[in-house]
Symmetry: D2
């Protein structure tokens, strides 16, 4: 029997190397994450919202997020960690969500302690947290709802995003660990990783820590030194895609037809037929 | 009352300028097509299949294609032309499809005369056509099924793709026009547009002609000279996105952290918050 | 041009007769509502949740509710009023919801002043309302979001359900009318209609009133006398279906084969082939 | 570790008692099947199409059928056998379908040897079969595509439905067994079970046989005597539901309000709150 995806994710979390996870928003981007050698896919709420041209503000429903996670999961052999925002409501919604994501073969979910509906963490307004107890309840309910013991629930604190400081982040992280979380994600939008290092210095390390550098930068060596277990690059794929598409369209608009300049900057049709699995399908017909 | 999207598409088809349509696969790519000044979006079966990491071979269901078309349609104010392959089955499936796409506010659909399940036109095998009569039946059924007289049904012949020559393409196009099609799409995978020009030279021009240059190139001036009404660049967006994502991921893999080089080549978080509509949402809260 | 469904619903609301609306949860039940001569379908959250074997507690997502409403809408020629609970979150969710329901051709939506996530109104706990202002904001946002002026937004107050009395219900109804609601739904779970009659006696009648008798009964003559415009029988269909299925299964369990007794109590295969549209499909093939 | 649903279904197939399976079309009907003591649920294409008010003619997509099967699967602890018609296209569609159904936790699928798009077996026209080889290919591909060895693939022959006789049914069944099917479903619309008994008399019994009595009747004792392993009552639930809903609506139409007669014939609100799981949800909040 091959290793299940939840078991594979748990093995990564319990290993001693930094695990590198890349954000994706559809089957193609997930498959490219795997092809480029990364170890897991982050089914990013921000990427998915952007791909639907909708604000990252709890507008997309759980159904839509789950469908996208399923598509990514079918496209790769590495585990998917699904960014589930606040859990799409309160505790009863979290229970429902965990059952559905687990049934779909998703390796793990991440829920955060913001109020539903949430706003993206890089927006200056509306970063209100729910109480520690209310979120710990969500974590406990999530852990009770899962059936496969390997399924992973990551508790994410937005204490730093909400401007509440490292102390609050540590208290929340400890409470979520007590409630049964399998890992803690601590998010920051500072321009340097100092807050994160301060958090790590005082964190007991009894649970693996996940970070999502977006506004700050950190090297793998630094992450290792500070004891971070997982680094998620959560939105590079769609940012690359958006820029490339816009530039291609603008050049086409200016040129009036497809120029050699355009063709040099895009993948060939054959590469995409390979990526989408058409070559395998044709081979199987013969 | 503002002009409906089907009416807008019909106006474009009946105009006297070349209409430029760009393929998209999600809300983001559709919105970029509009932002870059094009006049309609092609909800591309190839792009959508690739984005799901599935072969372009009638594997995606009508439900999935329609959901994607809806997302694109909500993201833009320009009309969507939905690439509906063979119509997802036979005549009864086409009738059902037309009703559902029309109900969803899609401006028009394009169906092709290949056998269901089809293979992508740039694959060397499996390019089998159904009979002229069987496909003319589909067109007639589609036209009878629509309720809004402005809704557009484009009949696409794959005669050139199947290697049957310009004569066959012309006969089929004429039959589909007789059956009530609103426009004819003639597809070719030759390396030059000569086949297309040969078709145009003998086409009565009683219906607008749509082309999808992929392996051949043609300038707007040439299209105008030969009487082509609509040109669809059907897969540039996803090819640009795939290359950009892969290069970004490869550089990240090599560098071990987010480097300045990467950030220069991707859109900023702020641009995407703008594109996804977050700025509007926040403004509306104040 | 035939009358649109939103226009048909508006005409019913502005008429002077009591409009009778029946709850449904799928295409079949909606079609039976129309075949039995009723004037509109209530796409019931309670019925839909029950049909999915899920608690009526904001567990079903907007995507699922909308998909079900679409299926019902395609199945009938009468208007659908969609029970949209709290609007699936806060004001931004309401705006998104209105756009999607309107795009799908749904005639109108009903939103209520309970907190998200809500519990079914016949449960004794958890009937907490949001403030008048917060809900009036939702109504205003919904009305601004619609594009077709005929699209109907019904404001539903749960003041009586929450035990806050007729005075509070009247104040809330007036505020929701001021905010632009097209009709007011006042819900009660008393065993008699006295609360409703007390509400009607003091209601200015400037907007049509909708009621949903479930625990109390009222005749059409009474509704007319008290000035009620719309009566929704919200859950009879699924209650009838559940009992009939259970009894059929129990009898089958007891009998060990299909007995004559069962067949007398169920519709024939032919009736269902007729209801599902198979006869029309076959006729169209000939 | 609890027994997986595919393993449970396989155990039933390999047992020595007649297994009784009841058709369902949503979570509610599936849950009632389990509550009434049956051993598995048939996610019926006919029931599902009827519930959507769509002809049972390959109009519903695999996405819709799979979503419904998922909802049923989440609602019960017994295995689901999904009626997958022709497999939604040709061999490549079958492969895709098996992967998706297996990923969703469905215990097994049944595919039939009719041409896509199919018509319901009780319609007199359009009962055309594909060749034995073409269908054996589908079975082989399905078996190769599954990852969990317990996942069940049932090969269904419509030879009797197509009027080809018992000999053809036996030849096809043997070929499908050779191709790897886990069980054979032989369908008949005769008014007596004589065809089925004739089939059973000559069937080697190396694979379990499944029947779907609809126009003919058979007792459990007879099934046992003739060696049938599984009996599916495929459409009783929706036929019971349709009749009960129509009668309730007609009586309401006639009476003008909900009478004691209506209330006696429907389930109580409390029963449905119990069935939908609301009581459990409330208990978990306390």
């Amino acid at each position: 029997v091959p290793e299940s995806k939840p078991a594979a994710l748990r093995r990564l979390l319990e290993g001693d190397r930094v695990v590198r996870v890349i954000g994706a928003h559809n089957g193609l981007s997930a498959r490219l994450v795997e092809w480029c050698g990364f170890e897991a896919v982050w089914a990013s709420g921000f990427e998915l919202s952007t791909s639907c041209a909708l604000p990252d503000a709890s507008i997309l429903t759980m159904s839509e997020a789950l469908d996208a996670a399923r598509t990514m999961n079918e496209a790769v052999s590495i585990p998917i960690i699904a960014d589930c925002d606040t859990g799409f409501g309160d505790t009863a919604n979290v229970v429902h969500m965990v059952r559905r994501y687990e049934s779909a073969g998703i390796a793990g979910v991440c829920i955060e302690d913001k109020r539903f509906p949430k706003l993206n963490s890089f927006v200056e307004v509306g970063q209100e947290l729910i109480s520690v107890d209310a979120f710990a309840d969500k974590i406990r309910a999530a852990k009770r709802a899962q059936r496969d013991p390997d399924f992973v629930v990551i508790g994410r604190t937005e204490a730093l995003i909400a401007g509440l400081g490292v102390e609050e982040a540590l208290e929340r992280a400890a409470a979520y660990a007590d409630a049964g979380a399998d890992a803690i994600l601590v998010h920051s939008r500072a321009s340097t990783p100092q807050q994160i290092w301060a958090f790590m210095a005082r964190w007991s390390l009894r649970l693996p820590v996940v970070i999502v550098p977006t506004t700050y930068r950190a090297s793998l060596a630094e992450l290792e030194r500070h004891g971070v277990r997982v680094v998620i690059h959560a939105n590079l794929g769609i940012r690359a895609a958006a820029k490339a598409m816009r530039e291609t369209f603008m050049e086409l608009q200016a040129a009036g037809w497809v120029t050699p300049g355009i063709e040099d900057r895009i993948a060939s049709l054959d590469e995409l037929l390979e990526l989408q699995g058409m070559r395998d399908l044709i081979a199987s017909r013969q």
